[in-house]
């Protein structure tokens, strides 16, 4: 062979590409169920506290199957990310796609996993799985007299196949079977039970621009919708304060009609809730602690191409805005997109989650009741919903 280039070298180069690649970069290994990661939080429990810790659900972006559960224990001071997969490694495809709510009832923890169409039921202390309840497009969970109630965007399809109404499913907390369901308005969200009536905020989010604008009233004895109260478009949050008033948020239409907060209460001598007040603030989410309603709002501003974010406190008795920023040390600047809010039932510490760009790890911030940052910790993707675990 009389060629300019040494042949042997060439073949060597070509043939070495293949094994070289695997040498440089490695082969596949067994896929692991990704274990928990632990962070130490500078926090200690109050003496005689009844709170042991809290769970936080990270929603995870749609289709990513990255809904994860984080757990913080005040007694060990450890914050565990991705707690579910470690406790339940044999569950195929882990917790699921897009978590949407969390609740504890008795000794059990309920996680509503929206795009996995199920409510996951765990032992609240160990995080070990007990079972699941399949509910299509489930949204929020509340509890009442031994039953769990789950709102769902999907009611019976038969009524109007083009625009099915939503439903509330009743689940027996012992057998984990659906016992009853009732059709409510379009795309129902949060619920509360007051004096044996359940109030459900209907959004109608699938029907934009013809949003629903009602709160459904369900009589719990026979589980029937008895009435729908006209409140405002695209309702979302619904919380009761200790005076049995309901605080209902409207998302608005994201364009000309802004988000609002409504108050529903019973007139003296009547048993029907009516809209008694409209608070002129935008409200994306809220948490009530004693007489204080903590809220935040994220509103998109077309002109500045940025989110306008506000944090405030409303006195639920006077309905006055008593503070326009519950974060007092200026650290709210670090929060890109607030996504969840909770208040510690004993210490009054305020928790705000930051979902950042929805597709990277979020942050959980803890503020003292006077609004100074205490600590923060990295979470999973889109940290959103919290529940406190009692001892």
């Amino acid at each position: 062979m009389t060629i300019a280039f040494p042949m042997k070298h060439f073949i060597l180069i070509i043939l070495s590409i293949l094994p070289l690649l695997t040498v440089i970069t490695g082969c596949r290994e067994d896929e692991l169920v990704v274990p928990s990661e632990y962070d130490i939080i500078p926090e200690s429990p109050l003496p005689d506290t009844s709170i042991r810790g809290f769970y936080l659900v990270n929603e995870g972006n749609m289709g990513s199957n990255k809904c994860t559960l984080d757990y913080f224990d005040y007694f060990t001071g450890l914050y565990a990310r991705n707690f579910y997969a470690e406790r339940n490694p044999s569950v195929v495809k882990e917790l699921g796609d897009v978590g949407n709510d969390i609740g504890i009832y008795g000794s059990r923890l309920y996680v509503v996993v929206n795009c996995s169409h199920k409510v996951e039921v765990l032992d609240a202390r160990s995080g070990v799985r007990i079972g699941q309840v399949d509910i299509p497009n489930c949204r929020y969970v509340r509890f009442h007299r031994g039953k769990a109630y789950v709102s769902s965007y999907v009611g019976p399809v038969l009524i109007d196949p083009a625009a099915p109404k939503g439903a509330v499913y009743e689940v027996d907390t012992l057998s984990l079977q659906v016992t009853r369901k009732v059709t409510v308005g379009y795309q129902p969200e949060e619920m509360e039970v007051v004096d044996d009536y359940m109030y459900v905020a209907n959004s109608g989010g699938y029907r934009a621009p013809d949003y629903d604008r009602t709160v459904s009233v369900i009589q719990m004895i026979d589980f029937k919708q008895v009435r729908q109260i006209d409140v405002g478009i695209n309702l979302h949050r619904l919380k009761q304060d200790r005076y049995k008033k309901l605080w209902v948020s409207s998302r608005g239409d994201y364009q000309s009609r802004p988000s609002r907060l409504y108050v529903l209460e019973k007139r003296p001598g009547y048993n029907q809730m009516v809209v008694s007040d409209t608070i002129p603030v935008a409200c994306s989410n809220m948490a009530i602690h004693g007489d204080s309603l903590y809220y935040y709002a994220t509103e998109w501003n077309q002109y500045t191409a940025s989110n306008t974010i506000s944090y405030g406190i409303i006195d639920v008795r006077s309905r006055e805005i008593v503070s326009t920023n519950f974060i007092t040390d200026g650290t709210e600047r670090d929060i890109t997109v607030p996504y969840g809010i909770a208040v510690h039932p004993e210490t009054g510490d305020i928790f705000v989650t930051d979902a950042k760009n929805y597709v990277s790890s979020g942050t959980l911030y803890c503020f003292t009741r006077d609004g100074r940052r205490k600590w923060s910790v990295r979470t999973g993707d889109i940290p959103a919903h919290m529940v406190f675990l009692r001892r």
Binding site: M1, I3, F5, F10, I11, I13, I14, I17, L18, L21, T22, T25, G26, C27, R28, E29, D30, E31, L32, V33, P35, N61, G63, S64, N65, P89, S90, V91, V92, K93, L95, G96, D97, V113, S116, H117, K118, D134, P136, N137, V154, P161, A208, P209, R251, Y254, N285, T298, A305, N307, T336, A355, K356, N357, Y358, V359, S360, S361, R378, D381
Partner: protein, 664 residues
């Protein structure tokens, strides 16, 4: 047979040379490169990576996207299965920066800017070429100067032997996934100067395949191991194509009518408790395009025109989710005139002007009805001093959008220059050093700008700057070693004003912003070797390796600052060994894609394992008189690796395919 084909081709060139045909450089590459380099009338400054002819057919590829996996610098996003969407990202700059040219005219999608290359079967494709930056040719439409990277697909052009007046070819493919894919090609010599070809294809597949998820816990014990069947990935599609080719004195013309119709299931992500989804898409893509080129002495002109109509009907039938039934209709009209003047044998200049109109109609609430008018004007010059070649081009693009019943956004205009050069330091011209600098951009798509609630009409174009330097070594011989080709390039790309989805408010609501900044450094190495170690035995070996470091440098406050961007592996590569002995052919190909992250943050929760597959094919040619037949058996993913290219979109395990071709 090869010798005969070579002669035929050389004849073909001899006859085409005076025509100075627009795609003469393309056509030369039909054969293996050995015979080509000698005859090629004019080489591009930086040649393309190319797959063509028999080599392409033996490559275990279902579609053009599959074949592109063998090119360096390319990452294919594959959502799995016959009907799954497959898009291409060149050198980490993003899918929207890739121009895809079908028989000389760029394919467009003004709605989302992405071309699904899974829709293009290899049945009628003769060559696929990949150019980094632009094709370094100056007689081309202005639009061709615009993309950051370009893929050229060329369909088969009829070549008739003396005495021949027609060719017939029928092919049927079948195999895994319930695949049935018959196709037919008729080529007719209408007159001495005019030929026609008609190609039709039907593809149907259930899209069902088994996939497996297996996990162990850190102690090494099995956590779960489950195998399921991929559902709702079926496809039923037809393709029809009619071509007319003609030669005139000093030039040629080409006319094409194309129609693609499909109904597909969208298999969707596999997540906990959801193993089947209900989305379906119907696509109708039709276009007619014409090309004309003629040379008068020192002046050559090339005219192109195209009219395209794309209809996409998307339905979500899932009882558990929001009902969606949307119809999108896009129309495109494109006119181009490219003109070249040769001042001397070594200096040429060109000016091209393109006009393009796009319109989108969507029956979706809140989606504006945009019309877009794009004017493109380019000027280019090429200097060829024998061993030294230089080319410079500049493209100006003016975009004007019109909205019905709304205020139109301001016009956008972008100026993008490029410089290409190559130098051959050795007298035998086996070795060349090459470099290019190019700026390019992508316009925000209609979805970026006007999609209901999410679009942002204030977006600016996303800009890319590329710097590339490389070497190439070529050797052609008569002995055992027929051809050697080695090339290595290093590059630096910078993406500014990257259009990214940004969250607004709550509930997965997004908007688009010019927010991203990406810094890309990479190296491509590729080699080709053709040997004849024994009588009647031909061996071709191809190897390719890509290193890429593509990091997000948008904002130091982000927790993914300076992390590798999603789905870009640091290391990837492929190797192909092709043996042909008498009438037998054996092909082995190996593809490796290294570990990568499925989201922006490089943390273990986002880690995606490497994958590598081995594909094997065996072919046999049979001839009865004038009739030649070929049987091809392919086995893909031979070692049955369970892998995801995209998170939660599992890929098929081992699968096979049989192809029978009859040609007259």
């Amino acid at each position: 047979m090869r010798a005969k084909l070579s002669i035929l081709l050389i004849l073909f060139f001899a006859w085409q040379l005076p025509a100075k045909a627009y795609d003469a450089a393309d056509t030369t590459l039909v054969l293996n490169e050995v015979s080509v380099t000698a005859v090629r009338p004019r080489t591009e400054i930086i040649p393309a990576q190319q797959l063509s002819g028999i080599e392409l057919q033996k490559l275990n590829s279902n579609s053009v996207a599959d074949a592109l996996r063998y090119f360096s610098g390319v990452q294919v996003k594959d959502y799995g299965g016959v009907g799954g969407i497959k898009t291409v990202n060149i050198r980490s700059m993003g899918t929207n920066h890739t121009g895809v040219v079908y028989d000389g005219v760029e394919l467009g999608n003004a709605q989302n800017g992405q071309i699904d290359l899974g829709q293009f079967s290899l049945d009628n494709i003769e060559a696929i070429s990949l150019y980094n930056g632009q094709k370094s040719e100056i007689l081309q439409p202005a639009k061709d100067f615009g993309s950051a990277g370009s893929i050229y697909m060329r369909t088969r052009t009829p070549h008739f032997d003396i005495g021949e007046s027609y060719h017939l070819r029928a092919t049927v493919r079948t195999g895994s996934f319930g695949l049935l894919n018959p196709s037919a090609l008729v080529e007719l010599k209408l007159t001495e100067c005019v030929s026609a070809s008609l190609s039709a294809e039907w593809i149907t597949s259930t899209g069902k395949y088994k996939f497996r998820y297996r996990r162990v816990n850190p102690a090494g014990e099995l956590a779960y191991d489950t195998t399921a069947v991929r559902e709702n990935g079926d496809i039923n599609a037809t393709r029809m194509e009619c071509n007319l080719n003609g030669n005139i004195a000093g030039g040629e013309w080409h006319f094409k009518v194309y129609n693609y119709n499909s109904e597909r299931g969208v298999p969707g992500a596999i997540v906990n408790n959801v193993w089947r989804r209900g989305e379906r898409i119907w696509d109708t893509n039709s276009f007619a395009q014409g090309r004309f080129t003629r040379t008068w002495n020192r002046f050559t002109t090339l005219a192109n025109m195209k009219y395209a109509f794309y209809r996409t009907h998307y339905v979500n039938n899932d009882d558990k989710q929001i009902k969606i039934d949307n119809l999108y209709r896009q129309r495109e009209l494109y006119l181009s005139s490219a003109n070249e003047y040769a001042f001397s044998s070594w200096w040429r200049v060109s000016v091209s002007y393109d006009l393009q109109w796009n319109a989108l109609q969507a029956d979706m609430y809140g989606f504006a009805r945009p019309d877009r008018l794009t004017n493109m004007l380019s000027a280019a010059t090429a200097i060829d001093l024998g061993r030294m070649k230089v080319q410079g081009s500049a493209l100006g693009t003016w975009v004007h959008d019109i909205l019905r019943g709304q205020q139109s956004p301001p016009d956008r205009h972008v100026f993008t220059p490029a410089v290409y050069m190559s130098y051959e330091p050795l007298r035998n011209r086996n070795f060349a050093v090459r470099a290019f600098y190019k700026r390019s951009f992508r316009m925000p798509t209609f979805n970026d700008l006007y999609y209901a609630d999410m679009g942002n009409s204030k977006l600016n174009p996303e800009r890319v700057t590329q710097y590339n330097a490389g070497i190439v070594y070529r050797h052609a011989g008569r002995g055992t070693v027929k051809a050697v080709r080695l090339s290595a390039d290093v590059y630096y790309n910078h993406v500014r004003d990257k259009i990214v989805a940004y969250p607004k408010g709550q509930q997965f609501r997004w908007t688009m912003l010019n927010l991203g900044l990406v810094d890309i450094r990479g190296a491509d190495i590729s080699g080709l070797l053709t040997l004849t170690p024994a009588e009647e035995l031909d061996v071709t070996v191809r190897g390719q390796y890509t290193y890429q470091r593509a990091i997000d440098v948008t904002d130091p406050a982000d927790n993914y600052y300076r992390d590798q961007i999603p789905y870009i592996p640091h290391h990837s590569g492929s190797a192909v060994v092709n043996l042909s002995w008498r009438r037998w052919g054996l092909n082995y190909s190996f593809i490796y894609v290294g570990s990568r992250y499925n989201q922006q943050e490089n943390i273990r929760y986002n880690y995606t394992q490497p994958w590598y597959t081995s594909d094997v094919s065996v072919s046999r040619d049979i001839t009865f008189g004038r009739v030649s037949m070929r049987a091809l058996l392919e086995i893909n993913n031979l070692l049955s690796q369970d892998y995801d290219v995209i998170l939660n979109y599992p890929m098929p395990k081992r699968n096979f395919r049989v192809t029978l071709t009859v040609e007259i």
